[in-house]
């Protein structure tokens, strides 16, 4: 009798072990990633001008924002308004720029361009749809009054921010 009970218990125990569940646990949390897809290059179409416009021989910098959840982040992109390094300049520089949505991964982002907020050299986008958004940034510099830019290397920074809301 005792043997029968022990044997039955062992089988039941084994069955319960075999039936145990192994859950796979995952968690999706909000996250923002900033990708520098294309580094920009200044073209020098005239002696007093630097420009990232392809028509001026430049390359537009392109930045991609990936957000994994909607309505968590604000994208703030600033075109340059000063050189980070350049030859010595003796006259003033006049900066201009523009930030535009160049591509999106979701049709729901089509309203981003119309809803953007621009002030000074900053442009803000409310990342209200999850997915990827590509932004192109144009930058133009004019030097002095008809003066030629001194020879040398010119560098400027685009600032791309992703701020939790």
């Amino acid at each position: 009798m005792l043997k029968t009970i022990t044997f039955t218990s062992a089988i039941l125990l084994a069955s319960s072990v075999m039936a145990a569940e192994f859950p796979i646990v995952g968690q999706v949390s909000s996250k923002c990633s900033i990708y520098t897809d294309t580094p920009g290059v200044y073209g020098n179409p005239t002696p007093d001008k630097l420009s990232t416009a392809p028509t001026d021989g430049g390359v537009l910098p392109i930045i991609r924002y990936d957000v994994t959840a909607a309505d968590y982040y604000l994208a703030k992109i600033s075109w340059p308004n000063a050189f980070t390094s350049s030859p010595t300049l003796t006259d003033a520089t006049d900066w201009d720029g523009e930030v535009e949505v160049s591509n999106t991964s979701d049709a729901g982002m089509s309203g981003y361009e119309a809803a953007k907020v621009e002030y000074d050299n900053h442009t803000e986008y409310d990342m209200s749809v999850a997915g990827s958004t590509w932004f192109s940034i144009s930058s133009t510099v004019l030097y002095g009054q008809g003066k030629s830019l001194p020879g040398g290397e010119y560098k400027a920074n685009v600032v791309a921010e992703c701020i939790a809301e």
Binding site: S29, S30, K31, C32, S33, I34, Y35, T36, D37, T38, P39, G40, V41, Y42, T52, V59, P61, I63, R64, D66, Y72, Y73, P80, T84, S85, I137, S139, Y154, K155, A156, N157, V158, V159, A160, E161, C162, I163, A164, E165
Partner: protein, 125 residues
């Protein structure tokens, strides 16, 4: 067709190369082992091959700096590496903390013509 494949491959390659991630989005402070200080843990992931340094900053809701302590304010982080670090703030200042940010810092020689300075800010609610 060949150029299409090339373009696709290049875009995938460049996409994989350069990204900056900083989580959690909404960190929470908790009591630390240090008297009179609270702590939160942040994670930074450097997928930017052109960046080796990130600066950590803490701000209030008006973007004014708030004093804090961490192991390194300027973190040296290799490409494709991640690091977890603690941020300590005095208890009487914790309520004022709104943003914790990391900003990429590029060396001059790493910048091409126009560099991209990336900054990601988490919000303490």
């Amino acid at each position: 067709m060949k150029s299409l494949y090339y373009g696709l491959a290049m875009s995938l390659f460049s996409t994989m190369l350069c990204a900056h991630e900083f989580t959690p989005t909404y960190p929470k402070f908790k009591p630390s082992f240090i008297d009179d200080a609270s702590v939160t843990t942040m994670k930074l992931w450097n997928k930017r091959s052109d960046v080796r340094y990130y600066e950590v900053t803490v701000f209030n809701s008006e973007w004014k700096p708030i004093p804090f302590a961490t192991v390194h304010r300027l973190i040296k982080l290799g490409y494709n590496n991640q690091v977890k670090f603690d941020i300590y703030v005095k208890n009487n200042n914790v309520r004022n903390v709104t943003y914790i940010c990391t900003t990429s810092k590029q060396l001059n020689e790493d910048v091409k013509s126009t560099g991209v300075k990336s900054r990601i800010c988490s919000k303490v609610k």
